[in-house]
Every structure is written in structure tokens, then in C-alpha cells.
């Protein structure tokens, strides 16, 4: 009786709500247009382009050496991996063979970047759910990685350390010691993360069963990286197309099949363990040798199209270059993992509460400069 009265007399109507572009939970300038019925999400529309900087067009007026530094500004949390993608592309096109020292240093740096990105994600994830402490704890560990980067590369975020044909500098004399110290330190801290957040009842209830996407849908939407691996899709580029020193190491691809937010969370925690294991396997194996292969002052790619894929902290980062034989590329295209992952947001969050949207957005791990370019 009472319910009938409510539905007859107090009719609710659907309304629209803007989330962003200046919203702390959207991790950047992302505008979401929410169609709501009370607190329930009916539709999520995305409005992109607030920080579009036309980086792909800028690449067409830059030489190949100059393009490398622009990729720092895409996904700034995995800038080292983005740099490597361009370097590998040009090296592949020109048949430049780099030695094992360069390959191994690049791989160690990649994994440190991945840990740094995931630690930041872990902190922000907790903060989005309402656990402010994790943000501080995440940044505490990230600071140590930033120190390693600053000492060897000269910068903390936009490292710009990879060059075409090698590295900008040799590793710093303290590098090996610092990395070993960090690995030992972080191995003690990761179980603490589990105790603090993974086991927490409030956190679990906010994530388990929320934001489900099936394996078929994940493939159909073109999801990649940890977001897809949470749905059981095997898509690790480090395994499928090994580059740099990934064929020398033994590691496990983190896959969970539940497909919900909690599975995506577990994937990233497991990836941090795997990254630590990769660093441990390589850090004592850095061989002697040159850190840079001499390249021509003006690099010209042969005419044709070239593709390179790498696994960034967010997924499959692809670089495509179409060259007409000049010193500038005719077309330079980046395939960013965040853009594909964001498209599935509507599918994941339909029918859920508005507070769940924040959690889902967090488990997708969006970095908006990567999406907008």
C-alpha cells in the first residue's frame, strides 16, 4: 500500500548532473555527464578534449629525436615507458641494434615506473573510497622511486631518459644500491598495504561485485592492461610481444577472472609483486658496455609505416609512424590505453549508485592527458 502510494504520488524524474571537469575524483579535466534517477546511474556520457594539446600534430613538425620528449606529456605516470616506445620504433625502423646493458637498464626503469604508477594509483584509489591515509603511505614509497629517477635521469616525472639508440646518461653510481634498498623496503611495505586496505571490510564492500564487465565485453570494448586482465583477458604485451629485456626474465601475468572492481585492484597489487621480481632478477645482471649507440645527427626513417607496442602502466600503448622518407614523420599516431578503457565506463556503471562511479573510475586508472593527447 505504502509503496504504491509513493510511486503514484511522488514521481521522480531523471535529471542530468555534471561531474567535472574540475572534480577531484575524475583525476584530471574529464567531464562526465551523468543521467541520474535519484542516486542511480542511468547513463554516463563523457566529454573529452579539455586538455587536448594536439601532440600528434606537433609530432609532424618535429624530428624523430624531438618527438621523444613529447611522449612524456601523454601518460605522465609512465613517461619512461612512453619514451621507450618511440625509441624502439625508430630503432626497429633503422635496424639499430642496442646492447644488453641498454635493454636491461630500460627494463628496470620500466618496472620502477610501473611500481611508481601503481603505488600512486593505490593511494588515490583509497582516497577516492574515503581512506585518506593510503594517499600518504603511497606517496611515501613513491618518493623513494622518484629519488632514484632524479639521481639518474635528472627529473622526477618527465624523465626523458630514453633516446633513439640508447640512454641519455649512464646510470648513476648509486643506482644499483638505491634500487636494491628500495626493493627490500617495498617488500616489507606491500603486505602492509594488504592489511591496511585489501582486507578492510568497508573497502571490500565498496569494490566486490561493483563495476562488473565480462570477458566478452572486455574484448569487445577493446579494454587493455590491468583493467582487461581483471576480466580474465590475457593481454600483456610484455608476454605477447617481448621487447627490451622482457624475454630474459621470468614473470607471471597477473590475471583474475572475476571482472569486478576488486579483481582489477588485485591485478595491480599482483603486478607490483611481479615488477619487484623482475627488478630483482635484472639488477645484478647489468653488463658492462656503452649506454648509447651513435646515431646520425638527422634521423630519416625509410618510407613506409611502422608500429611499436609496449605495455605501459595502464595497458597497451602503441605508436604508429607513417614516413615518407623525410626527417619529419608524415603521420604520427599514439594509441593510448586510457581512451579504450574509459569507453567501458558506461557499461560498467549503469544501474549502480553514483558513489560507485568514483570507485569504478579509480579502478580503470584514468590519466586524462593520455586520453586527450
Amino acid at each position: 500500500m505504502k509503496e504504491e502510494f509513493l510511486t503514484d504520488q511522488l514521481k521522480t524524474q531523471e535529471y542530468f548532473l555534471n561531474m567535472g571537469p574540475q572534480h577531484p575524483a575524475t583525476h584530471g579535466v574529464l567531464r562526465l555527464l551523468l543521467k541520474l534517477d535519484g542516486e542511480i546511474l542511468r547513463n554516463v556520457d563523457m566529454d573529452l578534449g579539455f586538455i587536448h594539446r594536439s601532440i600528434e600534430k606537433m609530432c609532424e613538425r618535429d624530428t624523430y629525436k624531438q618527438i621523444v620528449h613529447l611522449t612524456d606529456r601523454l601518460d605522465y605516470l609512465s613517461s619512461h615507458i612512453n619514451n621507450e616506445a618511440v625509441a624502439l620504433l625508430v630503432e626497429k625502423a633503422l635496424n639499430i641494434e642496442v646492447n644488453d646493458r641498454i635493454k636491461i637498464i630500460r627494463t628496470i626503469m620500466d618496472e620502477l615506473t610501473r611500481i611508481s604508477s601503481h603505488v600512486l594509483w593505490w593511494g588515490v584509489m583509497g582516497m577516492d573510497i574515503g581512506a585518506l591515509t593510503t594517499f600518504m603511505y603511497g606517496f611515501r614509497e613513491r618518493e623513494l622511486i622518484n629519488d632514484i629517477f632524479e639521481e639518474t635521469c635528472g627529473a622526477r616525472l618527465t624523465m626523458n631518459y630514453n633516446l633513439i639508440g640508447g640512454l641519455r646518461y649512464d646510470i648513476h653510481e648509486n643506482f644499483v644500491k638505491r634500487v636494491k634498498d628500495f626493493v627490500a623496503h617495498f617488500k616489507k611495505k606491500l603486505p602492509e598495504y594488504d592489511k591496511l586496505l585489501t582486507g578492510n571490510i568497508i573497502f571490500r564492500k565498496r569494490l566486490e561485485g561493483i563495476g562488473y564487465i565480462s570477458k566478452e565485453d572486455a574484448i569487445a570494448y577493446g579494454l587493455n592492461g590491468p583493467t582487461a586482465r581483471g576480466s580474465g583477458v590475457s593481454c600483456d604485451i610484455r608476454k605477447i610481444h617481448p621487447y627490451s629485456a622482457y624475454d630474459m626474465v621470468d614473470f607471471e601475468e597477473a590475471i583474475y577472472t572475476e571482472g569486478d572492481s576488486y579483481a582489477r585492484y588485485k591485478v595491480r597489487i599482483k603486478e607490483m609483486w611481479q615488477s619487484l621480481s623482475i627488478i630483482e632478477q635484472l639488477i645484478d645482471k647489468i653488463p658492462e658496455g656503452e649506454y648509447k649507440v651513435k646515431t646520425k645527427a638527422v634521423i630519416k626513417l625509410p618510407a613506409g609505416s611502422f608500429v611499436q607496442r609496449v605495455e605501459s602502466a595502464r595497458g597497451d600503448f602503441g605508436v604508429f609512424a607513417y614516413s615518407d622518407g623525410q626527417k619529419f614523420p608524415y603521420r604520427f599516431k599514439f594509441r593510448s590505453p586510457g581512451f579504450a578503457n574509459l569507453t567501458a565506463l558506461n557499461k560498467m556503471s549503469k544501474g549502480l549508485k553514483i558513489a560507485d562511479l568514483v570507485a569504478i573510475l579509480s579502478t580503470i586508472d584514468v590519466v586524462v592527458p593520455d586520453i586527450d593527447r
Binding site: H69, T158, I201, I202
Partner: protein, 161 residues
């Protein structure tokens, strides 16, 4: 039954987390063992950056106010953003009697620089190097345009141009 056991288990997980935060709170309250933050504006006199830190581009000068730049403009060409402008002029070299380029002004637009380091790499004379200063905050954008060569400076004699 499961309702109550869930309450008990839930409280247990909360206490597990509280133990960690509590441990860090009390340990760092008395010993500051895990504190990694720096009291930045207070330690400004003792703050030392890493020697590779990319703060700004500088032109190396020796103690006689001499630099290594012969105004070849390779750095200007290597720069992706047009942050560098090299103004040079030609004058007769008294020793050889040939026309030789010399540097008038090495203009550096810090506001456009992305610290990519391509200019430093391109320089055949190793004239440019990184500076560790990062206090670049100004109220006016035009103050970030700097002249790198010091007034009255000359190229190091004997350096081939």
C-alpha cells in the same frame, strides 16, 4: 549468525588497519624514523639537489668570464620549442685575418623550455650545461627570458670555432 560474525570480522579488519596507522603515528611522533618529507622553505640554505637535476640551461663560464660558445646555432636548431635564440655577428680575426663568428647574445626563454636536453646534446663545444637552480617563480612572464652569456664575456681563446 552470519550477520554477527560479519560484524566481528569487519571490526577485526578495521583494527588490523588501525594498528598499522597507530604504529606509524606513535613511532614517528617520538623518533621521526619514517619521515621522508622535507621542510622545504626552511631548509633552503642547506638543500642540495642531485648533480644531474635539470633545473635550467646555463652557459658555462670559466673564472676569466670566458665561455665556449661560437654562435653556431646548432642548439637553436635542435630545440623543439624555440626556447633558444642565438644572436651572433662576424668580425675579422686579428690572427688569421679571416671572418669569424662570435656570440653577441644567447637568449633563453625559460617559460617555453621543457628541459628535454636536446640543445646540450647538440652542442659540439659542450658550451651548455644544466643548472641546478629551480627557483623560477616570477610575477611577470617576461622576466623568465634570460640572456645566458654574462656581460663582457668572450669565447675562450684558442678554442676552434
Amino acid at each position: 549468525m552470519s550477520y554477527f560474525s560479519e560484524i566481528i570480522n569487519g571490526t577485526k579488519t578495521l583494527l588490523t588497519g588501525m594498528r598499522i596507522t597507530g604504529k606509524y603515528f606513535f613511532v614517528n611522533l617520538f623518533t621521526r624514523r619514517d619521515v621522508i618529507t622535507q621542510q622545504y622553505p626552511d631548509n633552503i640554505d642547506t638543500l642540495e639537489m642531485f648533480d644531474r637535476f635539470k633545473g635550467e640551461i646555463t652557459l658555462f663560464h670559466n673564472e676569466n668570464n670566458e665561455h665556449k660558445c661560437d654562435a653556431c646555432t646548432l642548439c637553436e636548431k635542435a630545440c623543439p620549442n624555440g626556447s633558444l635564440e642565438v644572436l651572433g655577428d662576424k668580425a675579422k680575426d686579428p690572427e688569421t685575418g679571416k671572418n669569424k663568428r662570435f656570440l653577441v647574445k644567447h637568449i633563453y626563454h625559460l617559460e617555453m623550455c621543457t628541459m628535454c636536453g636536446l640543445c646540450i646534446e647538440a652542442c659540439p663545444q659542450d658550451a651548455l650545461e644544466w643548472g641546478q637552480d629551480f627557483h623560477h617563480v616570477e610575477y611577470d612572464r617576461s622576466k623568465l627570458t634570460k640572456v645566458l652569456n654574462k656581460p663582457g664575456s668572450k669565447i675562450i681563446p684558442g678554442l676552434k670555432g
